[in-house]
C-alpha cells in the first residue's frame, strides 16, 4: 500500500492560513491598502500637505479645483470661503479622524473586555447589573446617546471621543461576555481551575485569547462607526470646533455653498465615505478570514 498519495500538504500556521483567506478577498485587501495610505498621509501630514491647514490665502477665495476653469494647481482641490486649501485640510483631517477613532476604539475595547470578562466570569448579580445597563444603552441609538452626552459635557473633540467610546461599549461587553461564557464551560478551563489558577489568570490567560478573533472584527468595524459618528458630531457643531480641520466640521457650514461651490461640499464627505468604506470592507474580510465556520 502506498502512503505517498494520501499525504496531506504541510499544515499552515494560523497566521498563514488567515492571510491565505484574507488576500483572496479583493475588497478587504483594497480596504487595507486604502487604510495604509490614509495612515501614512496622517502621519506625514506636515510633509505631504502642500499648505498649512489654517493658512488663509486672501487672494484665492472659493477657488475651484485645479482641472476646472479658474483653478490653480497650487490648490488641487480648490479653496474654501476664507481661502484655505481643501486638500491640505483633508490631509490634516485624516490625522484627527484616525486618532479619535483609535482613542475611542481602544478605550471602549479595554473597558468592554474588562466588563465582559467580569460579567461572564462572575455571573449572578454582577452579570445581571452589567447586562441590564448594556441593554439599556443598546436600546438607544448610538448617535442620539453620543449627542446627549456631548450636549451635557459641552462640545469639544475630547468630549466627542469620550461619548463615542461610551456608546460603543455595549458591543464589546456583549461579545466578550458571550465568548467568556462559552469558554468557561470548556474542559480546559475547568482543569486549570482545578490546578488552582487564580481568577485573574483564568480570565486573562485562559479565556481572553479565545475571544480575540471576534473582538478584532468588532474593533475594525468600530473604527468605521467612530469615524462616522465623529464626523456627524462635527457636522452638528458638537465635535471639533472651527477652525480645526475635521472632516465633519468642514461640512458644518457647507450648506451655504451648495449653490456656488460644489467642491467645498464634495471632497470632505467623499473622504469620510471612502475611509469608512475601507474599514467596513476590511472588517468584513477579517470576519470571513477569522470565522472558522465559513472555512471549507
Amino acid at each position: 500500500m502506498t502512503t505517498e498519495t494520501l499525504q496531506a500538504p504541510a499544515p499552515r500556521t494560523p497566521l498563514q492560513e488567515f492571510w491565505h483567506y484574507f488576500k483572496g478577498n479583493k475588497g478587504a485587501v483594497s480596504g487595507l491598502v486604502f487604510i495604509i495610505i490614509i495612515c501614512l498621509m496622517a502621519l506625514f501630514a506636515d510633509v505631504v500637505a502642500p499648505h498649512s491647514p489654517s493658512d488663509q490665502a486672501r487672494d484665492a477665495l472659493l477657488l475651484p479645483p485645479a482641472w476646472m476653469e479658474g483653478g490653480n494647481w497650487a490648490y488641487v482641490l480648490g479653496t474654501d470661503d476664507v481661502g484655505r486649501d481643501i486638500l491640505s485640510r483633508i490631509i490634516h483631517g485624516a490625522r484627527l479622524s484616525l486618532s479619535v477613532g483609535l482613542v475611542a476604539v481602544t478605550a471602549s475595547l479595554l473597558m468592554g473586555i474588562l466588563l465582559g470578562l467580569v460579567a461572564g466570569y462572575c455571573k449572578g448579580v454582577v452579570d445581571t447589573i452589567i447586562m441590564r445597563v448594556v441593554d439599556i444603552m443598546l436600546a438607544m441609538p448610538s448617535l442620539l446617546l453620543a449627542i446627549a452626552i456631548v450636549a451635557i459635557l459641552g462640545p469639544s473633540i475630547v468630549n466627542a471621543a469620550l461619548a463615542i467610546s461610551i456608546v460603543s461599549l455595549p458591543h464589546y461587553v456583549r461579545l466578550t461576555r458571550a465568548a467568556t461564557m462559552a469558554e468557561m464551560s470548556r474542559d480546559y478551563v475547568t482543569s486549570s481551575r482545578v490546578i488552582g489558577a487564580s481568577p485573574l489568570r483564568l480570565m486573562f490567560i485562559c479565556i481572553l485569547p479565545n475571544c480575540v478573533a471576534p473582538l478584532i472584527v468588532q474593533a475594525t468595524l468600530g473604527f468605521s462607526t467612530a469615524i462616522l459618528d465623529m464626523a456627524a458630531l462635527g457636522f452638528l457643531g458638537l465635535g471639533a470646533q472651527p477652525p480645526t480641520p475635521e472632516w465633519g466640521s468642514m461640512l458644518a457650514d457647507a450648506l451655504q455653498f451648495v449653490q456656488r461651490a460644489w467642491w467645498v461640499v464634495t471632497f470632505p464627505g467623499l473622504m469620510i465615505l471612502l475611509t469608512v468604506l475601507a474599514f467596513n470592507l476590511m472588517g468584513d474580510g477579517l470576519r470571513d478570514a477569522l470565522d472558522p465556520k465559513l472555512k471549507q
Binding site: M1, T5, L6
Partner: protein
C-alpha cells in the same frame, strides 16, 4: 418492466466528479439497495434523479429515462410534474427536512394540491388518510401541529406521507433512518417496505447499513468514489463479493468480527478532488492491488445482472481470481 433507466450518468462540480458514469435500472415493485461510505456519491446521484442538482453542479448522461420519458431533455415544468408525484424522495434528517414555519397539514396538502388538486375538504380528508397510512395516531389533531412539536420518528413518518401522497411509482429513500434512534429505525423500514409492497412501488434504498440491505433489497449496488464497483442480486453480492471493496465493507461489520480481537477496517479514506489515483480508484487502499491496478482503470465486467469493476475479481474463496 424497467421503471427508471440510467446509462453513464455523471454529476460534476467544476472539475470534481461526484458521480462518475454510473448505469443502473430499477424495475416496478423492485427494491434496489445502494450502499457505500460517506462521499461515495450515493446521495448526489439520487438528487440528480429528482432534478435537484443546482449550479455549479452539472448532470450528464447517455440515457436518463423514467417510464420511457427522457428526463434530461424535457422542459423543466414538465419534469416538475413527474417530480413529487411519480418519483418521490425522502431524506436523511427528518427534523430539518420539514419547514418549521408551516403545519404538517399544510405541507402534506401542498404536495397533493400541486399534482392532483381538489377541494379543501377533499384535500384535508386525503391528508388524514395519509397520516393514518403512515401510522400516526390522532391524525386529525396532528394536521395542525408544527414540525418542532414532533419527534424524529414522527417527522420521518410525515415525510413519508408527503412522499407517497401522489402515489409515486418510484420512491427514493436517502438514508431514511440514519438520523433516528435505533428503536425507531426498524419501525420506519418496516413501514417503507409495507408501503412498497402494498403499492408495488419501485424503491431505491440508499444506506450504509449493509445488514438492512441484505435483508430487504432484491438487488444491490455498491458505490465507491462516485463509481459503481459492484452490482447484482443482494444475496449473491453479500454471500460471494467479487470486489475487494465489497469484501472489505462486509468484513468491517461487527457481526463478521465475532471472536476476533479487532474489527477489520479498510485503511485510508475515499480519494477527494486532488488525490485521485491514476488507475483503479481503490488501488491505494486495496490489499490485492498490483502495478496494473495502479496504472490502468478497470472496466466493468461480467453479465449485466452481476457486474464488477475490477481487474482481478474475487473468487468464491474471497481471493483474487487471476
Amino acid at each position: 418492466m424497467s421503471l427508471l433507466k440510467l446509462e453513464n450518468l455523471s454529476v460534476t462540480f467544476g472539475n470534481f466528479r461526484a458521480v462518475d458514469q454510473i448505469s443502473y435500472s430499477v424495475n416496478e415493485g423492485e427494491v434496489l439497495g445502494i450502499v457505500g461510505e460517506s462521499g461515495s456519491g450515493k446521495s448526489v446521484s439520487s438528487l440528480s434523479l429528482m432534478g435537484l442538482i443546482d449550479y455549479p453542479g452539472k448532470v450528464s448522461a447517455d440515457e436518463l429515462t423514467f417510464m420511457d420519458q427522457d428526463l434530461l431533455s424535457m422542459p423543466e415544468a414538465q419534469r416538475r410534474k413527474i417530480t413529487g408525484s411519480d418519483i418521490a424522495m425522502i431524506f436523511q434528517d427528518p427534523m430539518t427536512s420539514l419547514n418549521p414555519c408551516f403545519t404538517v397539514g399544510y405541507q402534506i396538502i401542498e404536495a397533493l394540491k400541486t399534482h392532483q388538486g381538489g377541494t379543501k375538504k377533499e384535500l384535508k380528508k386525503r391528508a388524514i388518510e395519509l397520516l393514518t397510512l403512515v401510522g400516526i395516531p390522532a391524525p386529525e389533531t396532528r394536521l395542525s401541529a408544527y414540525p418542532h412539536q414532533l419527534s424524529g420518528g414522527m417527522s420521518q413518518r410525515v415525510m413519508i406521507a408527503i412522499a407517497i401522497a401522489c402515489n409515486p411509482k418510484l420512491l427514493i429513500a436517502d438514508e431514511p433512518t440514519t438520523a433516528l434512534d435505533v428503536t425507531i429505525q426498524a419501525q420506519i423500514i418496516d413501514l417503507l417496505i409495507d408501503l412498497q409492497e402494498q403499492k408495488q412501488m419501485g424503491l431505491v434504498l440508499i444506506t450504509h447499513d449493509l445488514a438492512l440491505v441484505a435483508e430487504v433489497a432484491h438487488r444491490v449496488i455498491v458505490m465507491y468514489a462516485g463509481q459503481i464497483v459492484e452490482s447484482g442480486p443482494a444475496s449473491e453480492v453479500f454471500s460471494a463479493p467479487q470486489h475487494p471493496y465489497t469484501q472489505a465493507l462486509l468484513a468491517s461489520l461487527p457481526e463478521s468480527a465475532a471472536g476476533k480481537a479487532r474489527l477489520e477496517a479498510l485503511p485510508g479514506v475515499v480519494p477527494g478532488q486532488y488525490d485521485r489515483p491514476k488507475g483503479c480508484l481503490l488501488s491505494p487502499r486495496c490489499p490485492y492491488a498490483t502495478d496494473h491496478c495502479r496504472n490502468v482503470e478497470p472496466a466493468s465486467q461480467g453479465p449485466l445482472e452481476r457486474q464488477v469493476k475490477c481487474h482481478t475479481p474475487l473468487n468464491a474463496q474471497g481471493r483474487p481470481a487471476a
